[in-house]
């Protein structure tokens, strides 16, 4: 059964097309990462899915309900962890979760949630006194007060330090094992690859790729890359190598294709052309390369 159906969704802000004819379906139980650079339309898409913003045209169904018309019925059954939102700073962690719990008919116990996000010891602290990572765990707990069928996480780890990010990942992983449908947006490909069984790449409001992370890599960036650094590398140009952008000619690279000669012979040819190669590395393709391949731009730019 499809948890989410998006059909030909368009959202326009003035002259800006934030979403352009997006069509997709998410089965229940799937964990989907929506990957894209800032401004790709990820947050806009989430806002549409949870009924916080209206489509210009097209239609969206969540759990069989038409959005945003039936938003309130849908919100009863979904959990949200949104960007640029906050909780009342003067309420304690426990008071916050207990308040949010009262907005729903299906309620999980606050103690259980506190234990789950490891904030039992901080339960009596005001939310404003918590660190960024702890506040994000409160947000995650608040998203789960109604034991939701679908969990929406908009950039859940943006701005967190690596440890706090790992903690959030563990919590998302647990939620996923619980059988929940999870939709998360991120501009960290590592996050998408680690958490999701399906990645949707969004660029300038359009879906440019959709599939399992490894399948996408196999499809769009099957090549590994050999990268060398050293001196007198200009001679490599004739052999099909390209200078690495920003390395001022001291680093060059070329694809390592399956039908290529062995790495050994590639390097021998390089040396013969007069290049002084000092270091060699082989880079596995990533979702970053998929994005680069599809858009001609870097994801992190």
């Amino acid at each position: 059964m499809a948890a989410i159906r998006v059909n030909n969704a368009v959202k326009r802000f003035g002259n800006v097309m934030a979403l352009q004819h997006v069509t997709l379906e998410v089965d229940s139980g799937q964990t989907v990462a929506i990957l894209g650079p800032n401004g790709a339309g990820k947050t806009t898409l989430i806002d549409m899915l949870v009924g916080l913003s209206r489509l210009t045209s097209g239609n969206i169904e969540v759990l069989g309900h038409v959005m945003p018309k039936e938003s309130r019925r849908v919100r009863e059954r979904i959990g949200l962890c949104l960007q640029s939102t906050a909780f009342f700073p003067r309420l304690t962690v426990r008071e916050t979760l207990s308040l949010y719990q009262h907005f729903f008919t299906r309620r999980r116990s606050v103690d259980e949630l506190l234990d789950w996000v490891q904030l039992t010891e901080k339960a009596s602290e005001p939310v404003s006194k918590l660190s960024g990572g702890q506040q994000q765990r409160v947000a995650l707990a608040a998203a789960l007060v109604n034991d939701p069928e679908v969990l929406f996480l908009d950039e859940p780890t943006t701005g967190l330090d690596p440890q706090a990010r790992r903690d959030i990942w563990d919590l998302v992983e647990m939620s996923r094992q619980h059988g929940r449908t999870v939709i998360l947006t991120t501009h960290y490909m590592e996050e998408a690859r680690h958490l999701a069984d399906r990645v949707i790449i969004l660029d300038r409001g359009r879906v440019v790729a959709d599939g399992a992370p490894n399948a996408l890599i196999r499809q769009y960036a099957p090549n590994r890359v050999v990268r060398v650094s050293g001196d007198h590398l200009e001679s490599l140009e004739k052999l099909g190598w390209n200078p690495v952008a920003g390395a001022s000619g001291h680093e060059w690279q070329r694809p390592l294709e399956d039908h290529d000669q062995s790495l050994e012979s590639l390097l021998a040819a390089a040396r013969q052309s007069g290049a002084h190669v000092q270091r060699v590395s082989i880079q596995e393709s990533s979702l970053e390369d998929v994005f680069l391949h599809l858009t001609g731009r870097s994801l992190s730019a």
């Binding site: 802000f13 949870v50 949104l82 906050a86 700073p89 003067r90 009262h102 907005f103």
Partner: protein
């Protein structure tokens, strides 16, 4: 517990943990009342008379002055300089059977001179044993009398209901810019449920503010409100509603807390000074009076005074109550129509 009651209790917790709220909404009106009440609350006559010189009549004059309420006698050897510096209202020099008075143009000085003149006339008549041709008796009008504190307390109460309503609007803007409202919007909670919960909390506050202010006024100044308690409560809740709706309206037309606080001051200050909170509207210059007639605070202060001081009934307050109800309805409808959860976009 429902979402609504959970939110009402959350609002109250948040307010009582806010120092700004505790000071501006609960303490400030009380402090202002004490300050103004102590400065201007003594409406009785008070004058200081400097007396110098000697003479046979001196002890008799001094003895009589001591019995006049409000008159304080200062014995001095110095000349009349004390009048110029403002320490004395009147200077009196006694030489044998001659009394010299030096007074200023102030009403107090004039009144004191008249009192002393009356005393000397009496003493002259008594010394020549002249029979009184005309007899005089003065008595007080029975019934309640009002002093400045009686006037001030309902005014300060009206003012505090206004400022806390506007303050509530300001906090709504902060909640919106911080994304707190957006997070609430993402739950099944509806906007009317949220606004109604904040409104309920405001009514609780209005009653609490009133209890504190009246309690302090009673202890310090012996202030006791008259009139029907029910009429009084209805009037203060209606006024509180009107000002909360103005606050909500402002909250939904401005973008940032800074702008909200500026707009609130633009509403607050003229209302405070032109609505007869601290002094009667009748003392305002004629050209300002039409302006005060359009300020809702004037109607709240008037209605509270009429009920608390003159024991008037609700039907007698129809006009001010209609103005307050109109304010509440107009701004309430505009505020819910313009209500925005999200600061980022509409």
């Amino acid at each position: 517990m429902s979402a609504y009651t959970a939110l009402v209790s959350a609002h109250l917790k948040i307010l009582f943990r806010s120092r700004e709220f505790l000071f501006w909404d609960l303490m400030f009106p009380v402090l202002l009342m004490i300050l103004l009440g102590s400065a201007f609350g003594h409406s009785g006559f008070s004058a200081t008379v400097g007396v110098s010189g000697h003479g046979a009549v001196r002890p008799l004059i001094l003895h009589t002055l001591h019995h006049i309420a409000g008159v304080k006698v200062v014995l001095t050897q110095a000349g009349p300089q004390g009048i110029r510096s403002g320490h004395l209202d009147l200077w009196m020099q006694i030489q044998h059977h001659h009394v010299e008075l030096i007074r200023t143009a102030s009403p107090t000085s004039e009144m004191t001179a008249t009192i002393i003149q009356g005393i000397i006339d009496q003493m002259n008549l008594a010394m020549i044993h002249a029979p009184a041709a005309i007899s005089l008796h003065i008595s007080h009008l029975p019934g309640p009398t009002f002093n400045y504190v009686d006037f001030l307390v309902p005014g300060i109460l009206a003012m505090s209901l206004m400022t806390s309503g506007l303050f509530a609007g300001g906090s709504l803007v902060t909640y919106r810019t911080q994304g707190i409202l957006r997070r609430l919007q993402a739950t099944p909670l509806s906007a009317p449920q949220f606004l109604l919960s904040r409104y309920t909390a405001q009514l609780v506050l209005a009653l609490l503010e009133t209890a504190i202010l009246l309690g302090v006024a009673h202890v310090l100044y012996g202030f006791s409100p008259r009139g029907s308690v029910l009429a009084f409560v209805i009037c203060l809740l209606l006024g509180s509603t009107g000002f909360l709706m103005i606050g909500f309206f402002v909250a939904n037309v401005v973008g940032t807390p800074e702008v909200a606080s500026t707009v609130n001051n633009v509403i607050n200050l003229p209302m405070m000074f032109l609505s007869g909170v601290f002094y009667p509207v009748g003392q305002l210059p004629a050209f300002i009076k039409p302006l005060s007639a359009i300020l809702p605070l004037k109607y709240l202060a008037d209605a509270l005074r009429n009920i608390m001081l003159a024991s008037q009934t609700l039907p007698q307050q129809t006009q001010p109550l209609l103005v307050l109800a109109g304010t509440a309805v107009v701004f309430g409808v505009l505020a819910s129509w313009l209500f925005k959860w999200d600061a980022r976009r509409v």
